[in-house]
Amino acid sequence: MSDEFEPRIIAFCCQYCSYSAADMAGSMRLQYPTNVEIVLIPCTGRFDVILALKAFESGADGVYVAGCLEGNCHFVDGNIRAKKRVAYLANELKKIGIEPERIAMYNLSASMGPRFAEIVTEFTDNIKALGPSPVKKKLAA
């Protein structure tokens, strides 16, 4: 393996929109970095800060949540709640010296396969620019 930093990223995707978009990116054979691993959840309303914290504790370099477009949540407002939780956690992470950019919220519809690929690339680039999670760095040391 090359020495270049390859971040490990967990993405929480809802079954209706973003997970479908991920599948669609697949059927369109859109190529994107391998760094993101998807955890399927029924709705981003199921996203819990505890899960993201678990990811960071386990050594993830970044976490993002991808839900339906705002206003289009199949469960009314799960994605809005998720957005607020993400913002809350970003702030808490910042306070303990972890870059808040390591967690993000995205919205996309089931037909936005290209956008999904774009998000993976974009987020991976962001995390690469940030470097390894400060948590992991010390763990490795």
Binding site: I50, L53, E92, L93, I96, G97, I98, P134, V135
Partner: protein, 223 residues
């Protein structure tokens, strides 16, 4: 119920600086209900502290446990098996009764409050709580249309509203409703102004905390 919120993480970090083994103790009482110190918040705090320690390269253990209540000695006793494991610091996620009870029961332990106890209040909606009582020890809300000016008027006026009341909000902030506006409006709407005309007398604060720390002893209950 008692409404509390978690202290800023920086402050909590400062409590446990240099400690190797930390226990976060939650409470299933009021602070669970107000989303400040239940199992979930304990998990979050513990996780943040672990992350922080890992980030700094410190080998710190942060354990979690949530008690039924931290305002009853019997539940406090339950913690003994944890205390036996020798923690360098114990963070209580209860109202300030919790850390005080813990400190008294386990005088040798380093006990810190992880919450700020804010007020006695209720939930207006999910995620919004408001103060409704300041435990003055002499409830007179029936005189004010079921609203407490002692607590809910910024100046605890007995004969409000003051001249700073504008558009139904208090002069101190647009986010604070003017309780006197509500009280006066209610009486006017109900056509009960005359009932409201007499000047409310000066309040006797001796039953309040101004009368010193309070204690209730119910003799018939005391063994």
């Amino acid at each position: 119920m008692i409404i509390a919120e978690r202290k800023p993480i920086d402050e909590i970090k400062s409590f446990i600086e240099g400690q190797k083994k930390v226990l976060v103790v939650g409470c299933r009482g009021c602070v669970t209900v107000c989303n400040a110190g239940g199992t979930k918040e304990v998990e979050i705090l513990a996780s943040l502290l672990r992350l922080d320690a890992q980030k700094e390269g410190h080998d710190v253990t942060v354990d979690e446990h949530t008690l039924e209540r931290q305002c009853d000695p019997e539940y406090i006793d339950e913690l003994v098996e944890f205390v036996d494991k020798k923690y360098d610091a114990i963070l209580s996620m209860a109202c300030s009764v919790g850390p005080q009870f813990l400190s008294r029961r386990y005088p040798k332990e380093n006990i810190f409050p992880a919450l700020n106890t804010n007020f006695i209040g209720g939930a207006l909606a999910h995620g919004i709580w408001a103060e409704h009582c300041q435990a003055c020890g002499n409830c007179i809300i029936h005189k004010f249309g079921g609203m407490c000016p002692v607590t809910r008027c910024s100046k605890s006026l007995m004969n409000g509203p003051c001249g700073g009341s504008a558009g139904g909000v208090c002069e101190i902030s647009k986010e604070v409703e003017c309780i006197w506006h509500l009280i006066a409006t209610k009486f006017m709407e109900e056509g009960k102004l005359e009932q409201f005309a007499p000047i409310q007398p000066i309040k006797d604060w001796s039953s309040s905390r101004d009368g010193g720390p309070r204690k209730i002893v119910r003799e018939e209950l005391v063994k």
